[in-house]
């Protein structure tokens, strides 16, 4: 799954400066599973933004209005509405939005960067802003903890690395074994991080496959990993509705 984490509230508030009608749009996919951008988190963010708007409104006009006996209206001058769809990386689910995008001058998406980018492509007349920082492809390794396992490099090596990815899990993405920074099974970058090549060595030894470590691995084709720009997947047998392929 794609793992993401919420941006700091201040950064989100700054990105919304000048916007009056905000739709916070949650995503029920990966970001709901990692508890960063699902329906609950979108609602929580909506409440935080309403509070922030009230505070800002009071700070801006409170002094004068208080002198005149007035109060800042709840929610200030910013309307915050919350919605959530099943996934923001599939066109069909946008039809399930309970609100009409025409009623908003900005969408604050709590999807990963895929959702934000895809929604921007689908609704070019709208401004779609991100509420999350998309961080990695990972798994839920313990309650409340997610860890990176794959880098999406486009040329999987797990068959000969004992199932431990050195591209994602070695801080230098090395391919021929550990560097001199391996330290009692940990990486030089952090004592809390396993040395991926130590894990690979242990695993291959257990499996009786150290030959896989001994084999020379040629320089990687990084062209498969961003080197040629935007990557695409095409299944020709599924390409009937060309309209969707945009």
């Amino acid at each position: 799954m794609i793992v993401a984490e919420r941006k700091p509230l201040n950064e989100i508030v700054q990105s919304l400066a000048g916007r009056k009608r905000v739709l916070v749009l949650g995503c029920g996919g990966c970001v709901a599973v990692c508890c960063s951008g699902g329906e609950k988190q979108a609602e929580l963010l909506g409440e935080q933004l309403k509070l922030a708007a009230q505070v800002a409104c009071k700070a801006a006009s409170g002094g004068e209005e208080a002198a005149r006996g007035g109060t800042a209206a709840p929610g200030g001058k910013v309307e915050i509405t919350v919605d959530c769809i099943t996934r923001q990386c599939d066109r069909e689910f946008f039809a399930n939005m309970k609100h009409d995008l025409k009623d908003f001058d900005v969408v604050l998406s709590t999807a990963c960067g895929v959702g934000v980018g895809y929604m921007t492509a689908l609704y070019p007349e709208k401004v779609i802003l991100p509420a999350l920082n998309t961080t990695f492809y990972g798994a839920n390794v313990a309650p409340g903890q997610w860890q990176e396992f794959c880098h999406g490099c486009g040329d999987c090596v797990l068959a000969w690395t004992g199932g431990v990815c050195p591209i994602a899990r070695c801080s230098k993405s090395l391919i021929n074994g550990a560097c001199g920074g391996t330290n009692h099974g940990k990486c030089e970058v952090s004592k809390d991080m396993d040395c991926a090549w130590y894990l690979i060595y242990k695993r291959l030894k257990e499996l009786g496959r150290l030959e896989d470590l001994r084999k020379m691995r040629p320089a990687r084709q990084w062209s498969k990993d961003r080197g040629k720009g935007v990557r695409r997947l095409t299944h020709e047998e599924l390409m009937q509705d060309t309209e969707v392929q945009k």
Binding site: G177, G180, G185, E188, R217
Partner: protein
């Protein structure tokens, strides 16, 4: 200024370092680190004063510990201008294969022959932690790149997919590093085998303070027929020794050595440090082909260390 473009014969040693290791002589190398800034005169002066007549070649570190400074290539070239043979250290952290291969050709054009291929400390260890780490190649890949250049080609190909042909072919004396006293030595040995297979012709090791562990390591790599220069890092005080034990991967300083530094008076510390280095070399010289002296700014101690090792 000496003529930088040195033509080397197609066979035989390409450098004094290679020739001396070939001859079976116990060889010393030293090391300097370029300045953070343009004032490189100090390190060049120290190399001329203390290293030129005591060691065979002088390593020039490449943005060591990921702390930005003047580059290894320019200072290596300046050493050749001063009649000092450099070992051009090259890390794969900061340049992709285009940059690395181009700099290798540049190095050859500038008269540099010895190249030490290293991975390089991660950028997060240094003073630019937000830099993008490159690591397009690893140290094995860099050695393969050097070997490819020596065959008159490069890592790329022309439009038809044929190997590129170089107009002028370099030859290097190619080196690599190893950590002999790490707790898990088998993966180190496997990687060293790969480095040699990729073209490494000499080895300079991480710091060693445990001669018995080093000897065991050398026995385990007896099948690897390339000369090994044992790494000797001067311990300036007990605090540094303890820091190395806690923070430098694969380095173990025995308590007996730490106690000698603890007991040494302030005026005596340097002498004790020199003696420790000399004794380590004496104990290990029978099982290796040379010593790589890393004095960390105490370059003036190099002659005394060689004296203390009984090899002056």
């Amino acid at each position: 200024m000496t003529e930088p473009h040195v033509e080397t014969p197609a066979t035989g040693p390409v450098s004094k370092l290679q020739a001396e290791l070939d001859s079976g002589k116990f060889v010393f190398t030293g090391e300097i680190g370029p300045a953070k800034g343009t004032n490189v005169e100090k390190c060049l002066h120290e190399a001329e004063e203390y290293l030129k007549h005591t060691v065979t070649a002088v390593n020039v570190t490449d943005i060591q510990t990921a702390v930005m400074r003047t580059g290894s290539l320019s200072v290596s070239h300046m050493l050749t201008d001063r009649g000092i043979e450099p070992v051009y250290q090259m890390v794969t952290r900061d340049r992709n294969r285009l940059g690395l291969q181009s700099d290798l050709l540049s190095a050859y054009c500038l008269g540099v022959r010895n190249v030490l291929a290293l991975t390089g400390d991660h950028v997060s260890m240094g003073d630019h932690p937000d830099a993008k780490p490159v690591y397009d190649l690893d140290s094995v890949g860099l050695l393969e790149a050097m070997s490819t250049l020596e065959r008159g080609s490069d890592m790329g190909s022309d439009a038809k997919g044929n190997p590129n042909v170089l107009d002028g072919v370099p030859r290097f004396f190619k080196g690599c590093a190893v950590t002999p006293c790490t707790e898990e030595v088998e993966p180190q040995i496997i990687k060293l085998e790969k480095k040699v297979q990729a073209g490494a012709q000499f080895v300079q090791t991480q710091a060693v303070y445990d001669p018995e562990a080093f000897e065991r390591f050398m026995e385990k790599i007896a099948h690897i027929k390339v000369p090994v220069l044992v790494g000797i890092v001067m311990l300036k005080n007990a605090g540094m020794a303890r820091y190395m034990n806690s923070s430098v991967p694969g380095v173990f300083v025995p308590e007996s050595i730490i106690q000698r530094l603890v007991k040494a008076s302030k005026d005596d510390k340097q002498k004790v440090s020199i003696d420790i280095c000399g004794e380590l070399i004496q104990k290990m010289k029978h099982c290796c082909q040379g010593a790589h002296l890393m004095t960390l700014g105490w370059d003036h101690c190099v002659p005394a260390i060689i004296q203390a090792a009984g090899l002056a």
